[in-house]
């Protein structure tokens, strides 16, 4: 016998019945995300803004104030120092310099000279205006392309209604993730884009599992009302949905706590993504099928992928 049970065997959670509440919640979430983003903006990392980031380890802790003083005289524009996980580990961010790539290089040298000896340079990152611009657009294209590719795949494997419902749920996940990053002013960088794309992948994974069951039940119970059928499908797969989210969260929390400072923002975004992705699959994507009016005609091409043995 298994020792623990997260979800009882016969669940009967009225996800479909409560859909209006979920819709309302999600609409508020998306709208407030947009408002937050337009009001507070995003704290983009140097990948997208250009600029300089230097991580140093000092011989003794608590030098941050002195270092700030030293950098003040350099005329670098705005810069920022913060402790990075430990009191002797300091992250220095300097705004992009006017005067193109050469000015950036000069600024790195100036900072290193001003800080003097006795410092270990753990990381130096410099992104020029050309590259940051490219990274920004590439990141945007990647997210849009991923969502579109998934739309096509789900459309191809299911029906267009499923594809559309899945993409609405995905967009919901992406927008609310951006809203969250804007709200808490966490740095949004290349790693965050990777996290967003993974969230997209994970969330669709969850959605597809439930959709698959919906499709199966559509064939099995030809006369069951749609609402009841969706209700049954979500509850049948609920145990799996919860389990997978739980094991993934387990791994991600380990990454967040022990994976080091650099990876922490990434792990954070992912943890949020798993939560919102699971929610949107069950509470948004599936109920939306009811609104879309799924065709109930039998389809023959569902058995294209079957195991032979």
């Amino acid at each position: 016998m298994s020792l623990i049970k997260l979800i009882p065997d016969d669940t009967n959670v009225p996800f479909i019945k409560l859909r209006k509440i979920f819709y309302a919640f999600s609409i508020v979430l998306v709208l407030s995300s947009i408002v937050i983003y337009s009001v507070m903006g995003m704290k983009f990392g140097i990948d997208f803004t250009g600029g300089i980031m230097i991580e140093v380890k000092t011989a003794e802790p608590g030098r941050i104030g002195e270092m700030r003083e030293r950098l003040k005289g350099l005329n670098l524009g705005s810069f920022e120092l913060q402790e990075f996980g430990a009191p002797d580990d300091i992250l220095i961010r300097v705004q992009p310099q006017d005067g193109g790539e050469e000015a950036q290089m000069a600024a790195v040298n100036a900072v290193k000279q001003a800080l003097g000896d006795g410092i270990e340079y753990r990381r130096t990152e410099l992104v020029g205006p050309k590259v940051s611009d490219e990274l920004y657009w590439d990141g945007l294209y990647a997210v849009v392309a991923a969502v579109l590719a998934i739309l096509v795949y789900v459309w191809f494997r299911f029906e267009w209604q499923f594809g559309l419902a899945a993409v609405i749920a995905l967009t919901h996940d992406v927008v609310s993730t951006i809203g969250l990053f804007s709200l808490i002013q966490h740095e949004f960088n290349l790693a965050t884009v990777a996290a967003v794309l993974t969230i997209v992948g994970y969330s669709i994974n969850d959605t597809v599992v439930v959709f698959d069951r919906v499709r199966e039940n559509l064939r099995k119970y030809k006369t069951m009302p749609m609402e009841e059928l969706l209700h049954k499908s979500t509850n049948e797969t609920l145990s799996r949905t919860t389990m997978t989210s739980f094991t993934t969260l387990l791994a991600l929390v380990a990454l967040y706590l022990f994976g080091g400072e650099i990876i922490r923002d990434f792990a954070f975004a992912m943890i949020w993504g798993i939560v919102i992705g699971t929610y949107s699959s069950v509470c948004v994507a599936v109920p939306l099928l009811l609104q879309m009016g799924v065709q109930r005609g039998p389809r023959e091409d569902d058995s294209t992928i079957e195991q032979t043995s």
Partner: protein, 527 residues
């Protein structure tokens, strides 16, 4: 379900064994692994720069400079030719990607046109009203010149980096005019940037001793003469000392065959000893013979390193540069002279360098997180699914081994985000098993027998697993296509993890479950 053909068993067990074999070198020290006999796999995972430490530089070749040089050369030739033919002209100069000149004498425009037309085949020449001749570089010539400049730059960059003695640098062209340089395990990225930041064009010139310094300071420099600052000398005002240097190159740095740092015997100052090839030696000998007791200038990238007086003809083809260098400067300069000059300056578009300390810390933290994640998931799965959970755990460990093997064999680069990808895979890999187990449980509770339930569970879950994983794979492929560096590393491990987890979660657990069913023949399922 019980019928598991022998060939299938062999295939699954074989793949697992191969996985272990190819993952094994990672347990050894790098030096030990490299010395394994040839019939054993010896490739280890290729760590990214963010894990092993090192510098990543994205450089841009300023090809515009090369084009401009060619245009200037053409302007010089046109001037000389027109003067030779005594054709009067005005407005000779560069315009965009070409040059233009206006011929005053209307009856000689045809002659001038014919004359300049043949000077450079890379240009299309055009004569318009008013005696204006324009020569525009053809697209093909532009492209060829750019490609040549980039290729040559890559070669010089490679030579300079090789001279520093670092191991396994990656130097590749990216796009039209970019060079990606990745140097692992570098202690001092600043030195690398210093070395790549100089074009290192060296030339020897005579000084113009007729021109007046006062005139030059007032902005009137005679044609054919350049007004250049000294590199290390400072005048009483604290400004770099200025020199009037003849533009004509006496001997170029391309004729150097060797350069080594050394010390001046008399005052122990660091110097650079150099040697010319035969052509250079002869030219240098001739010029010095004719100009004894006159000063000459050694010019590097538009700055005068030193301007000694020629005491006697230098006929041996070797000499020394003493320019009040530090030891490091003398070392770097001789390295640059040995490696040769860049055709155009390089601009650093992007730099990411990681010190060895941070890399080691990242590996440690990443491994710890992976271990804790793995143990957490294993414990949870066995608590939740009992015997089946343990089987899933075995598959998960096998999955990790296969991921390691694939990364080693493909020599894909493992980055810090890549480790994150693996940790994520740990969490998501069991999904396939969860799907199968939940399905088996469901089928069993619906009244099927043990065998039939297990069979149906695997069969029905399969379609779902494929659908669900293909979508994640799509995301991974796009990440790889659009991402850069570390993000690509994440995409690679994510994709490898998905593929590998489908194999282990479906076939490996299935084999184990089948073996158990065959042996124990249970009548009920504790799932």
């Amino acid at each position: 379900m019980l019928k598991f053909e022998t060939w299938k068993v062999t295939l699954i067990a074989g793949l697992c064994a191969l996985g272990m074999l190819f993952a094994a070198p990672n347990l050894l020290d790098r030096s030990v692994a490299e010395n394994l006999p040839d019939f054993l796999p010896k490739q280890q995972i290729n760590l990214g720069l963010d894990l092993r430490g090192g510098a990543h530089l994205l450089l841009e070749v300023e090809t515009r400079v090369v084009i401009d040089e060619r245009l200037e050369a053409l302007v010089d030739v046109i001037r000389t030719e027109l003067r030779k033919e005594r054709i009067t002209y005005v407005g000779l100069g560069k315009t965009g990607n070409g040059v233009a000149v206006t011929i005053r004498e209307t009856d000689r425009t045809e002659q001038a046109y014919e004359l300049v037309r043949g000077l450079d085949t890379g240009f299309s020449t055009n004569l318009s009203d008013g005696g204006v001749i324009t020569m525009v570089m053809t697209d093909q010539a532009l492209q060829e010149r750019r490609i040549a400049a980039v290729e040559q730059s890559i070669e010089i960059v490679r030579r300079r980096i090789d001279e520093t003695g670092v191991r396994e640098p990656t130097i590749v062209r990216q796009g039209d005019d970019r060079i990606l340089v990745q140097v692992p395990g570098l202690d001092d990225p600043e030195r690398l940037k210093r070395l790549l930041g100089k074009t290192a064009k060296l030339s020897f010139h005579l000084l113009d001793d007729k021109a007046s310094m006062a005139e030059a300071l007032a902005g009137r420099v005679p044609p054919g003469t350049a007004f250049l600052p000294a590199q290390n000398e400072i005048d009483i005002m604290g400004q770099p000392r200025m020199y009037l240097v003849q533009k004509r190159i006496m001997v170029g740095g391309d004729t150097l065959v060797d350069a080594q740092p050394g010390f001046d015997q008399s005052n122990n100052q660091p110097i650079v000893n150099f040697r010319f090839d035969t052509v250079g030696a002869k030219r240098f000998g001739d010029v010095t013979k004719q100009n004894v007791n006159k000063p000459f200038a050694i010019v590097l990238d538009g700055k005068v390193i030193s301007a000694p007086v020629i005491r006697e003809p230098i006929l041996g083809g070797s000499g020394q540069i003493s320019g009040s260098f530090s030891v490091a400067e003398a070392n770097d300069l001789s390295l640059l002279l040995r490696a040769g000059a860049l055709p155009a300056p390089l601009k650093v578009l992007e730099e990411r360098s990681v010190g060895p300390g941070l890399g080691a810390d990242s590996i440690e933290a990443g491994s710890l997180a992976a271990m804790i994640g793995l143990v957490g998931v294993l414990v949870f799965m066995s608590l939740y699914y009992g015997r089946f959970g343990i089987y899933a755990g075995v598959a998960l460990v096998m999955n990790m081994i296969i991921i390691t093997a694939l990364l080693s064999v493909l020599q894909a680069t493992l980055t810090l985000p890549g480790i994150a990808g693996i940790v994520l895979t740990i969490g998501m890999a069991v999904d396939a098993n969860v799907l199968v187990f939940e399905r088996i449980r469901e089928e069993f509770r619906a009244g099927r027998g043990v065998m039939s339930a297990v069979d149906a569970g695997y069969k029905h879950a399969f379609v779902t697993i494929v659908d669900a994983n293909v979508t994640t794979l799509i995301a991974a492929v796009l990440l790889f296509a659009f991402g850069s560096g570390p993000v690509q590393g994440f995409a690679v491990t994510l994709a490898i993890g998905i593929v590998s987890s489908m194999f282990t979660a479906i076939w490996v657990t299935r084999l184990i479950v089948a073996l158990w069913l065959r042996r124990a023949r249970p009548s009920t399922l504790n799932l």
